[in-house]
């Protein structure tokens, strides 16, 4: 043992050297530890994207670790391994890489680094050059002499065995040059993967990188499988004649003292006008805010809580972080941009006082875990949601305030998932495009589960075929590998020091945005400040709701001020009653199919119930099988049990069933015997390591720990499964609480002011689950009068117009809302609802409208809009106010002469140009109502005139189809047939392949459940139909109605009946000659009316 010299490896590329390295940083570190290396470094190609992950793993494994980078030059110089010696060296390295990334000619993801850059920025960095020793000595000397002269004692020559036949010779040459120059020789194995068996994957990566196939990659592939981590004993054998080279790895390691830990807590200084310290300023602002938030004075317990929080902030030195978030939020409020913070740190009284969150103390008292935890040493994390259409303003502000030197977006690591892994590997293995598509198509969505048998079968492949086997094996190996870096949706990193001296900055696809090389986990681990500036459609919608309420209604809070998120009347029963009836179309978070079927069973009556509702329909609880036990207990059909008091404290509020991530973590600590940092590692491991088997260790620890403490094994295992679910889709209570506030607020508007709610939703599209057609329909069913878009009344957005509210118009199923709804306006659809119109054009139309347009020609002359725009308006039937239906209006539009358009502008005011022109009358065929409806759908995606199915009712009735609206009065278990337009198809990842469909006819919607076998049988009908007929069993449970499909038929062609001409001498459906149809050029033919109807939205 003792005769084996200590060894450390520095020439390591991980899979963050994209499409080259074939092992994860974690695997490399783990292997190095197992092999007994004294130290390990990570040097990816011109990037440090993987260094934090490796660092975390190294901390766990307690192995000496050094972050570095393999410098790859664009001007043919040999690669150099660069390891910072200290903080200064790290700054240099980051600057050097940033400069290479930002060069104008550099493409995203392809930095341009020049040899000269190393000479400019190479101080305080230990460097090992990987020269090519098969070239002549004098060339080598010429290359290395300047390197030696410049870097002296920081310079090494790195030498690796290549197994290309000439290693002996190369080694000898290297040794002699090392001697001559006085540059020490350091051993490395120039590693590409941790273990030999990754060679095949590395070949596949090479083929993907070269955009070719493995068999065609030829000499680009590595000749052998030697570039893995080798045992020190093996390295000793390889370098037996040059043992000093092994010793040099130790000297190299000793020259490095930099740790990523030194980057921690680099928060910006928020300058106070009064010259106060950050902490003092934060305290001042908090108390000031408290006065605003609690106009009647603070209760002592709240005052005490604030003091406690402030003390903790001071202790942890987080004041600057809170000030930064506060500053951003303050900016948004001044601009009247609605925003809302979430995350555990956001759920604090300090944040409430600062206005970062509107979740007040009443709610907060209920929460399990608030604020930052003392024992976990990680930075506070606050996400702030902003109105989705105004987030850009906030981002601009951040850039302006902190300047590009100190802020950039976090990265998001885009990695291989099921489908992309399969597609790329299959392509690299040379499978035909057809099979590649079939294979990729057989994987639903983003699954990262192991692929195999089933998918092969779906693509018609034989799994025993070696090529297929290789394809699946490699695809499973590559899963989770990073593919490239992309920008995080909104995670801003803000630092006090130059950001480009902390982490390299890279370009993004968007010219003006820059991002760093680390993702949010990396940032957490390093301890850098990140604020998530996120966009939320519902906030835009609520902003509009509040504005409309203020302008159109007298409603004010008890202080006479307009309502805000924080001052909306709380805990109003009618709002909860409405939610409990699942009357929640458009309501934030609880409008999905799954949520709606949960609501009547959950019967939420308090705010905390909403918090639960938001969190419960998620993969975590579903995978952990926590939903049904909770429902049973909630409905009183089962008694909660807690096993003991420690669990009662954690699970009391959720009737003994863990629903939140926080609960699962606490169980791990309290019942499983984890330390809090172990629990945290566990959560992370779930997200990153799910497939590598490393979680098994945690599983055993948790389950066995709980069993030892006397918990039933199946309960312990359920807890673990739930943790697994959380790992990928973590949804903690602290976020649920913030979301629940928006659920309540949006439901409040929907309950009392459906007119406002619908208007705001329409003006905030696209967002949410439903298309405008359903939103409009829902508003109508709540008694709101909807008016069609019109050239003389509409503006771009939908607006409220005076109208009288008639409770009698409320649909029977919403009867109970008659005394609740306070609507006093009708909704005028805006021009934005019409397809293909530009906002600018319509604003011009509105500006020049004056007393109103009198004719098509008048509109044309005065608005100055081109004929095509007028045609769009006519197609949308927007000329009704001047007595023209769409066909008459179009006829008039067609008559306008563009040729004369050029000289009409100066004549704007010349009245002698007639508004109407005389010409021979042409008898146009009148448009039947059903045709109008089809045309409405074509240009508005909805129709106020009628539902398309109303025209088909007779035929439907004849074929035994019952209206959706009649299901409520039928018997549970009855076999029936329903039909409707397909609105939504949903296949939740957790539903074991079940598909939910929502279909709609003129009487209402029905929810269809399509089981897997039924789906396989009726696949084309489910996925392709626009109008569908479903036969199956009616299932009515707690007022939730489903039809369990047994048979599905595509009736889309029936829609063509809507525009079919009256029976005349109509010939058989005419289509171009020959069998089938045929277009090779030109746009695809519009295939009848069915193409006009919405395709239905697909959700996962």
């Amino acid at each position: 043992m003792s005769d084996i010299p200590p060894y450390a490896e520095f020439g390591i590329q991980s899979n963050f050297s994209f499409l080259r390295g074939a092992s994860r940083p974690e695997e490399l570190v783990l292997t190095a530890k197992l092999m007994g290396y004294t130290a390990i470094g990570l040097a990816d190609r011109n990037s440090v994207a993987g260094v934090v992950r490796a660092w975390k793993q190294a901390e766990e494994q307690e192995i000496d670790y050094h972050p570095g980078c393999r410098l790859v030059f664009s001007d043919d110089a040999p690669d150099v391994l660069a390891y910072p010696q200290d903080r200064q060296g790290w700054a240099h390295l980051c600057r050097m890489l940033t400069q290479a990334n930002m060069r104008e000619e550099a493409q995203k993801g392809a930095p341009l680094l020049y040899w000269q850059d190393l000479f400019d920025w190479g101080d305080n960095i230990s460097l090992a050059i990987l020269a090519d020793f098969s070239q002549p000595a004098d060339a080598l000397l010429a290359q290395l002499q300047p390197f030696k002269d410049r870097f002296g004692r920081s310079a090494w020559i790195a030498l690796a065995p290549l197994y290309k036949g000439d290693d002996r010779w190369r080694f000898a040459q290297a040794a002699s040059i090392s001697n001559e120059l006085g540059l020490p020789l350091m051993a490395t194995n120039d590693v590409l993967y941790h273990a030999k068996d990754r060679r095949a994957l590395q070949d596949v990566l090479t083929a993907i990188r070269l955009k070719t196939t493995v068999p065609k990659s030829g000499l680009e592939l590595e000749m052998n499988a030697e570039r893995h981590l080798k045992l020190p004993r093996e390295m000793q054998r390889l370098f037996r004649d040059y043992l000093q080279a092994l010793a040099e790895t130790q000297r190299f390691a000793a020259s490095l003292s930099f740790s990523l830990k030194e980057l921690e807590h680099n928060y910006p200084d928020e300058v106070s006008e009064r010259g106060l310290t950050a902490q003092a300023e934060l305290e001042r602002l908090t108390w000031e805010g408290a006065k605003r938030r609690f106009p009647k004075g603070l209760e002592p317990k709240h005052e005490e809580l604030i003091r406690k929080e402030l003390t903790l902030i001071e202790k942890k030195n987080y004041a600057r972080y809170f000030l930064t978030v506060f500053d951003i939020v303050r900016f948004a409020r001044r601009q009247r941009i609605l925003c809302q913070g979430r995350g555990s740190a956001a759920n604090s009284l300090v944040c409430y006082c600062l206005g970062i969150t509107d979740v007040g103390p009443d709610i907060m008292d209920h929460l399990l875990e608030r604020f930052i935890s003392e024992e976990r040493n990680e930075p506070p994390d606050i996400d702030v949601d902003f109105e989705h259409d105004r987030r850009a303003e906030v981002i601009a502000y951040i850039y302006q305030k902190y300047s590009e030197k100190n802020t950039a977006l976090a990265a998001a690591v885009i990695s291989y998932r099921g489908r992309s892994a399969m597609r790329e590997v299959a392509k690299a293995m040379g499978l035909s495009e057809d099979i590649v598509n079939a294979l990729a198509g057989s994987i639903w969505g983003w699954s990262s589960k192991e692929v195999g048998e089933q998918e092969a079968g779906a693509a018609g492949l034989d799994r025993s075929d070696p090529l297929t086997r290789h394809t699946f094996e490699r695809a499973n190996e590559i899963m989770g590998f990073p593919r490239h870096l992309s920008q995080h949706v909104g995670g801003f990193v803000i630092t006090r020091d130059r950001l480009d001296e902390i982490v390299p900055i890279v370009k993004t696809a968007m010219e003006e945005r820059k991002m760093i090389e680390w993702d949010k986990d990396d940032l957490d681990n390093v301890g850098l400040l990140k604020v998530d500036i996120l966009a939320l459609g519902m906030l835009s919608c609520l902003r509009r709701c509040f504005d409309l309420l203020e302008t159109h209604y007298p409603a004010r809070d008890s202080f006479g001020r307009p309502y805000t998120l924080a001052t909306l009347p709380q805990e109003e029963k009618p709002v909860y009653d409405m939610i409990s009836r699942a009357d929640t179309i458009g309501v934030f978070q609880v409008e999905s199919r799954a949520q709606m079927s949960m609501l009547p069973r959950l019967q939420p009556q308090t705010f905390y119930d909403l918090v639960i509702e938001v969190a419960i329909v998620r993969p975590g609880p579903i995978q952990g099988d926590m939903v049904h036990p909770y429902l049973r207990r909630r409905e009183g059909r089962e008694k909660p049990e807690y096993h003991n008091d420690e669990l009662r404290a954690i699970l009391g509020k959720t009737l003994g069933v863990p629903l939140f991530q926080e609960q699962a973590m606490k169980i791990a600590i309290v019942a499983g015997g984890f330390t809090s940092s172990e629990a945290d590692q566990l959560r992370r491991a779930m997200a990153t390591f799910r497939r590598t088997g490393a979680v098994r260790h945690y599983r055993d620890k948790l389950v066995e720990g709980m069993v030892r403490k006397g918990y039933p094994r199946d309960f312990a295992e359920r807890c673990f499964r739930q943790l697994e679910g959380f790992g990928e889709y973590g949804f903690p209570e602290s976020h649920a609480a913030s979301f629940a506030l928006l659920v309540y607020a949006s439901a409040w508007f929907k309950a009392y002011y459906p007119d406002i709610f619908c208007t705001a939703l329409l003006n905030s599209q696209p967002m949410g689950f439903y298309a405008p057609a359903q939103l409009v329909r829902d508003a109508r069913e709540h008694g709101v009068e909807i008016r069609e878009p019109d050239i003389n009344f509409s503006v771009w957005d939908s607006t409220l117009e005076q109208a009288t509210f008639k409770p009698s118009r409320i649909a029977p199923q919403h009867r109970s809302m008659r005394s609740i709804i306070r609507t006093a306006h009708g909704l005028r659809l805006g021009f934005r609802q019409i397809k293909g119109l530009a906002q600018q054009d319509m604003e011009q139309l509105v500006t020049r409208r004056g007393e109103g347009y009198k004719s098509v020609r008048d509109l044309w002359l005065r608005s100055g809009l081109p004929k095509s725009v007028l045609a769009r308006l006519a197609e949308a039937d927007a000329f009704r106010s001047i007595g023209l239906d769409r066909r008459a209006a179009l006829w008039a539009v067609h008559a306008l002469d563009e040729a004369r358009a050029s000289d009409r502008l100066p004549l704007l005011d010349r009245r002698e140009i007639g508004l109407f022109e005389a010409e021979p009358q042409m008898e146009l065929p009148a448009m039947r109502p059903s045709e109008h409806v089809v045309s409405d759908y074509r240009s508005l995606s909805l129709s106020l005139k009628a539902h398309p199915l109303a025209f088909l009712r007779d035929q439907l009735k004849q074929s035994g189809v019952v209206p959706n609206g009649s299901l409520r009065d039928r018997r549970n278990g009855q076999r029936i047939s329903v039909a409707g337009l397909v609105l939504i198809r949903q296949r939740p990842g957790t539903s074991k392949g079940i598909i939910f469909m929502t279909i709609e006819d003129e009487t209402g919607t029905t929810n269809i459940v399509v089981r897997t076998q039924v789906f396989e049988k009726f696949r084309p009908e489910v996925l392709g139909s626009r109008l569908v007929r479903v036969t199956g069993r009616l299932q009515i449970v707690s007022d939730v109605i489903h039809v369990i499909a047994e048979k599905i038929e595509d009736l889309s062609s029936w829609l063509n009946l809507l525009t079919k001409e009256e029976e005349r001498s109509a010939p058989p459906e005419s289509k171009p000659a020959g069998q089938g149809s045929h277009t090779v050029s030109g746009p695809p033919r519009v295939a009848g009316v069915s193409a006009v109807m919405p395709k239905g939205r697909n959700f996962h």
Binding site: L162, Y163, K164, G165, D166, R168, W169, A200, D203, V214, P215, S217, G218, L219, L221, M223, N224, A225, M429, N437, G441, S442, P466, L467, H470, E875, R887, L890, W891, H894, A895, D897, E919, P920, M922, L924, P925, A926, M927, R1019, P1020, G1024, D1050, S1052, S1065, P1067, P1068, S1070, P1072, A1073, G1074, Q1075, G1076, S1077, H1078, T1079, V1080, P1083, P1084, A1087
Partner: protein, 503 residues
């Protein structure tokens, strides 16, 4: 089902009845279609091929009338004025066309009318396989047809449909003024053309003047020797045409038209542009030698045509004093290759070419000579030498492409397959001290290596284990290329092979 790419998506371009019955339609994305019917068979559309086919059909229609026009991508327009009686009247001609097309496997629709416009509409929108619209019946025939029958742009069609005008009938009696004003003059012109109120000429297809020579024979010939004589005659005529154009042929087709209408076609191709009649005759002689039995003259051939299907610029060469062209070595070579190919078929003549692989025995592969000649620039240097086009490009010919193989040198002679030797070697991965090959013992004095080559794991017949190659020199200075398969630490002893010899 056929797909074609449009705006980056694969869409259905055409399909058969079975696919139609599934409710698919043209224009639908392939991905969507596949999601619904995972086992659809999808082929890439080949518009160029379609066009070629249509052109060939047009050729064939010369049977009926010399005036044939290609109409769009799926139609042919035949002007049969004055031809119908030859086939027993209009109806008979119409039936004949459809019947004979059907016999060839085409599902055709035919319309016959007094105006091209009407015939066009009748073929496409009558809903029948063949229809004859009597003169004067145009209006009635058009009335129920959709607007597309008027051959107007889709844009105009959409505009008309948007105001409820969907059938031609709706336009027949409408006031012309408002129509022209809104939809342009073309609409009315098309209407009048179909009705016969305005003349419309069809533009017969102008055949691309092929470089072809033919001889019609009053007395049909059937003897092979006669054909060969005639061929030489034709080749001489062709040569004059080629000289005028400064070209040589790359591909030639000899068409033999039998009295009873059956056509035999014989094609040869050349590796360099050719115009020498004797050489051409020689190439065909090779073909005849193969074909002899299968070429059935029946009642004899009445027309013989020699056509150059493809030509290329011909580099003129100085004739020597005897008036003979200087025949350079590689011209002889390519002539020989051409003859071999004509005789034995394209697949029979192969060229060794470098292939990219780490496995030594895979570093060369054979490629058919035809593909080799057609290879793009990579091995352009070879081609320059071979086909003799490079008379001015000597420099180019010298620039033989350097293929960089492995780091270490490869032996000049590689054994057809590695030969097992007995060897004693340094453990674990050193060179042999000595080895016994073909009963002789060789003592190694120097060695270099190992060069480690791993199997190509993705191949079914991959070599089983990694090879460690060594270059060794024995006491007498002979040099060998040996490899060890397997390692000494495995369960089975590794085996040593000799794979090549250095000079």
């Amino acid at each position: 089902m056929l797909s074609h790419r449009e705006d980056n998506t694969q869409r259905i371009a055409a399909m058969n009845e079975a696919a139609e019955a599934l409710g698919l339609r043209v224009g639908l994305g392939i991905a969507d279609a596949r999601a619904m019917h995972p086992d659809l068979e999808v082929l890439e559309a080949d518009p160029v091929g379609d066009e070629r086919l249509l052109t060939r059909l047009a050729d064939w229609c010369d049977h009926f009338t010399p005036l044939v026009a290609i109409d769009g991508y799926d139609g042919l327009l035949l002007d049969i004025s004055g031809c119908a009686h030859l086939f027993g009247g209009e109806d008979a001609l119409l039936q004949e066309v459809v019947r004979r097309l059907a016999a060839q496997g085409f599902d055709a629709r035919a319309g016959l009318a007094s105006t091209p416009g009407m015939a066009w509409a009748a073929a496409r929108f009558s809903g029948r396989a063949a229809v004859n619209i009597p003169a004067g019946g145009e209006g009635e025939a058009l009335t129920p047809m959709p607007l597309a029958a008027l051959r107007i742009a889709e844009e105009a069609q959409r505009k008309l449909e948007s105001v409820g005008l969907r059938r031609v009938g709706a336009l027949l009696n409408a006031p012309r003024g408002p129509l022209v004003r809104r939809f342009g003059r073309l609409l009315v012109t098309r209407l009048d053309q179909a009705l016969g109120l305005v003349e419309e000429a069809i533009s017969p297809r102008l055949p691309v003047p092929p470089l072809s020579v033919e001889r019609r024979l009053g007395e049909p010939i059937s003897l092979l020797d006669d054909i060969k004589d005639l061929l030489l005659l034709l080749a001489r005529t062709l040569r004059q045409d080629l000289e005028r154009r400064g070209e040589g042929v790359r591909q030639l087709t000899l068409s033999l038209f039998r009295v009873d209408g059956v056509v035999s076609r014989i094609s040869v191709s050349t590796s360099r542009p050719l115009r020498e009649p004797q050489a051409i005759a020689l190439l065909f002689r090779e073909k005849f030698a193969v074909l002899e039995d299968s070429l059935d003259p029946g009642q004899g051939f009445e027309l013989v045509r020699l056509a150059a299907a493809s030509t290329a610029p011909f580099v003129e060469k100085q004739e020597d004093l005897h008036g003979d062209a200087v025949v350079v070595e590689d011209e002889r070579f390519s002539l020989m290759v051409d003859r071999l190919r004509a005789r034995l078929g394209d697949a029979a003549v192969m060229m060794p070419t470098p292939a990219e692989s780490h496995i030594p025995e895979r570093q060369a592969e054979f490629m058919s000579f035809r593909d080799w000649v057609r290879q793009p620039a990579r091995s352009g240097a070879h081609r320059f030498v071979m086909n003799g086009r490079g008379s001015g490009g000597a420099a180019a010919a010298v620039q033989q492409e350097e293929v960089t193989w492995s780091v270490s040198p490869r032996p000049l002679r590689l054994l057809a397959r590695p030969e097992l030797v007995e060897a004693a070697a340094e453990v674990p991965e050193g060179p042999p001290f000595s080895f016994r090959w073909r009963k002789a013992l060789y003592r190694v004095s120097r060695a270099e290596g190992p060069e480690r080559i791993e199997p190509e794991w993705w191949r079914e017949a991959a070599i089983s284990a990694a090879r460690d190659y060594f270059r060794v020199e024995d006491m007498e200075g002979r040099r060998f290329w040996l490899f060890r398969e397997g390692t000494y630490d495995g369960e089975t002893m590794p085996r040593w092979y000799l794979h090549g010899l250095f000079p």
